[in-house]
Symmetry: C2
Subunit: 340 residues, 2 copies
């Protein structure tokens, strides 16, 4: 069997099954985007990594090294944010063609530093290797969190409302504009779509406020697409979910670009991915307090987009017409191997 | 300018210069193989990473995935050992061709797990990405150490003796046998050379014993070759060094294979690299105690191979004849970009 037949998440499950049960200091291990590790002193350490592969995740002619540097940091900060944590230290592993221009590295680090500084963290080391082929940037980020503020994917409860910060689909609009530069859209839509795709802002402060509130049961960031990420929450929590498609906060650039190319903006908002918003669940009673707290502390709105259902109910997308579409996990969100 | 003109260590210095001074919680940052990070509770966290790139660091037809898994863990454990630390948790970032056999991954993880378990640590997460090209394995390892047991590269003092554990050059002999499979050597030499090259044993317990002894001033592991690694210690400590070539503990396989191919085994021991022995400095008075302690606690011998000299004295290799060869740092040890 080959890895593309197994798929990304199948391969992750297989890897987890190859290893023995983790020791007690591993609070969350393989299978989550972030490992949660118990320090002997009581505090929790968070550790995550994400690789950007040239020709797969980015094309050098279509993203500046400065943007690429910012983006790879943002992706990892978003993972730490999705648990309510505080980013601290990063390792950068670069696999570079020997003939790469040093200017590229300068701009890459300028972008990385700017983004990591705004998260209060620092690049503390890494590794350099050469390659005869295309470049790979693997970024590892460590963070900290007090145990009482930690939010995991696995805490969703049946009856919870499902909420998402900000708006969805603009990153997908940015990807579309990158792939079809001939499209003519408003300056505002182009700026927003490109910013959301190339230099996303992780919801760090939002994640911390949500974690400290004690009101959030489960949380993930929207990296694989809302449908993909709700699957992660439901799997970890042993629940189902209903997503109310007609309640989705759709970004303005998503609406404009999708209309222009004859696509459904709601579909982009559901499955586009790389929005780096936070997706979380909470008791319906707590929703007004959460919305007020988040808006007061960060200026970011959040919207109820569905509800958590019982285990075995599957993941349903509910349309305004009352129609319900059953989504099997395998058909929602980004899988790094199945799409090639 | 291109990265191969700058070289690996030139590029590392350039990257360090692009970033502001590290915050006070970064005890050791960019430029060392391991970052040393101050937790608020007083304990130190160690973080290192190392990438193995197909076609550069390994060739899939010449190393089994099981060996490769063991080796990538050993390399990182050796880095933690070189500070006296205790490995704890690892992240594995795999960049894989989509058509790779799942069996390869199974064997890779079997090797990784076996090696990491023997170090008392655990794989807690990572990332999977696909590539259209060759595979990359980036392995990040976190460890812990009490501040009073930490040994850095930068503590060498003029007049110190320089010591190395075990024996040198056998890994280079293994590389030679891999590249020239037609060579006929004794079974014992082949076994030892291949074991040292493909599945090196990191000197973990030795590093911990040396760290806890309080007698060691500076330490590094021999990954780039003794000459390359003594340069790291001297640069960090602002010293020079004399290496006594006639005192080097040369491995038995190195002696046999080098003789067979008409090469100088001493030269392999000096610059071969990937020995994963520990190179350290200590006051001459402390040497007998260190040798006894290490032998008693771990069964591993260590040998005096030189002495630390003043800043500006350079790095000299002293021959039995009394001849002294001046080595400039640029011509000793492994540089990932200058050799292509």
């Amino acid at each position: 069997m080959r890895v593309n037949e197994l798929g990304e998440f199948g391969l992750i499950r297989r890897i987890a099954s190859l290893l023995p049960s983790p020791p007690s200091d591993v609070v969350v291990g393989i299978g989550d985007d972030v490992a949660v590790l118990q320090m002997p002193t009581g505090e929790l350490l968070l550790a995550t990594c994400d690789a950007q592969v040239e020709g797969v995740h980015f094309v050098r002619s279509r993203i500046t090294p400065y943007q690429l540097g910012k983006k790879i940091v943002a992706i990892n900060v978003s993972d730490i944010a999705s648990m309510g944590g505080t980013p601290m230290w990063a390792l950068v592993s670069l696999v570079l063609p020997s003939d790469m221009e040093v200017d590229f590295i300068d701009d890459l680090y300028r972008g990385m530093h700017e983004q990591i500084e705004s998260a209060g963290a620092f690049v503390v080391g890494g590794n350099l290797s050469k390659t005869k082929q295309e470049m790979v940037i693997d970024f590892s980020l460590l963070g900290r969190i007090a145990p009482e503020h930690l939010v995991l994917r696995r805490g969703a409860k049946e009856g919870d409302h499902i909420l998402v910060t900000g708006a969805l689909g603009d990153s997908k609009a940015g990807l579309e504009l990158m792939n079809r530069p001939e499209l003519i859209v408003s300056t505002a839509a182009r700026r927003r779509a490109e910013e959301r795709h190339f230099t996303p802002t992780p919801r760090l402060r939002e994640g911390q406020v949500l974690g400290r509130s004690g009101l959030v049961h489960a949380m993930a960031d929207v990296s694989d697409g809302l449908m993909g990420d709700i699957v992660h929450i439901c799997r970890a929590s042993r629940t189902g979910a209903e997503i109310w498609a007609f309640e989705l906060p759709i970004g303005s650039a998503c609406n404009e670009v999708a209309a222009l190319v004859g696509q459904d903006p709601g579909s982009w908002a559901l499955t586009g991915g790389e929005d780096y918003e936070l997706l979380f669940t909470a008791s319906p009673d707590a929703v007004p307090d959460i919305q007020k707290l988040l808006l007061d502390e960060t200026g970011t709105p959040c919207t109820v987009v569905g509800r958590v259902t019982g285990e075995g109910s599957g993941i349903l997308v509910c349309m305004k017409s009352g129609e319900k579409i059953i989504c099997s996990p395998g058909h929602a969100g980004w899988d790094h191997f199945s799409q090639s």
